[in-house]
């Protein structure tokens, strides 16, 4: 697997991008939470925020954003917290992620099964 620029820049870039903030808010997003822009970028906005808003004009998952930005998933989650707090994005959370890691109900799993069979 080819690594992104992260390996070269190391923790310093992460520090700059996140402003050294805590990771506490990460739990607000799952890796497969789908992000949708609710506004256009404005002048002076942090470049990562601009990229996210452009990328998410149609829904895109947190993990895809992470791949396109070449930033670790948890750094992207911190960036997304800012955008969510200011109403610039909305988040569509996975229905299946239940506390305790239980499986979704049979209706959902049946739909998954049938959809895969029909691929």
């Amino acid at each position: 697997m080819i690594r992104g620029p992260l390996d070269k820049e190391g923790p310093d870039r992460l520090y700059t991008v996140t402003g050294g903030r805590s990771r506490a808010d990460e739990s607000r997003f799952d890796m497969v939470t789908l992000i949708v822009s609710e506004s256009d970028p404005t002048p002076g906005m942090q470049s990562e925020h601009v990229k996210i808003l452009r990328m998410c004009r149609r829904p895109l998952s947190v993990v895809e954003i992470s791949s396109y930005l070449e930033l670790p998933v948890s750094v992207v989650k911190i960036l997304l917290c800012d955008l969510l707090d200011t109403g610039r994005i909305t988040a569509r959370h996975p229905h299946a992620a239940r506390p305790g890691g239980r499986l979704p109900g049979p209706e959902t799993l049946k739909k998954v099964l049938v959809a895969l069979q029909n691929l």
Binding site: E26, L34, V63, K111, V112
Partner: protein
């Protein structure tokens, strides 16, 4: 395989109505065919990314990205399949190495289930993954990627891996879309049967 180009090109967005992301993980040793399988069924070119954790963050989860702290990085790749108007299934190819499991809860809580991809010549590569999946209570099936003419029956593999009888096993060729699809169908059928409390394999749906 490479990461995506920056900029607008190549960002394959989802349909407007997409609202429910689902996860399946393909776990296995190095070179067993995880990326190949993701690639053969994904609707997008497989992407890769990474998650980092500070050494201090292992297990306590309150670290911040402060300068000069050592970070550990785990890389993984993934693809996706839009299942219907709302549901999008994400397939993750995950290395089975030890440090990866520290990140399991952060990355893979809510995962529907896992495919343990094995190569019969290197069965011992999968013992640790099987143990960890059991520990996390993640339902899984075992798929044998047939690189060469198989030398063992699936029952022999089951015995060697000490798998309970209810865990489904399947053979595959990860390079072939239909074969990889059949693996996902086998996992979905198993998950469905677990959710209806029926015994595995009896569902005809």
């Amino acid at each position: 395989m490479s990461t995506a180009l920056p900029g607008g090109a190549g960002h394959a967005p989802l349909r407007e109505s997409a609202s429910n992301g689902l996860k399946i993980v393909i776990v296995g040793g190095f070179g067993v065919g995880k990326t190949t399988m993701v690639q053969s069924v994904s609707e997008i070119r497989p992407l890769s990314t990474e998650e980092t954790m500070t050494q201090a963050g292992i297990g306590i989860d309150d670290a911040s990205f402060v300068r000069h702290k050592t970070t550990t990085t785990v890389a993984f790749d993934f693809g996706r399949i839009s299942l219907d108007e709302q549901m999008v299934l994400y397939l993750f190819g995950a290395p089975g190495q030890e440090r990866f499991w520290f990140l399991w809860d952060r990355l893979f809580s809510g995962t529907l289930g896992a495919v343990v991809l094995v190569d019969t010549n290197r069965l011992s590569d999968s013992w640790y993954a099987l143990d960890r999946l059991e520990h996390h209570g993640t339902p899984f099936i075992v798929a044998r990627n047939n690189f060469t003419e198989p030398q063992h029956t699936l029952e022999e593999v089951r015995e060697a891996l000490d798998l309970p009888p209810e865990v489904p096993m399947i053979e595959c060729d990860a390079r072939k879309r239909d074969s990889s699809k059949a693996v996902l169908v086998a996992l979905a059928r198993y998950l469905y049967s677990l959710s209806t409390n029926g015994s595995a394999g009896e569902t005809t749906a």
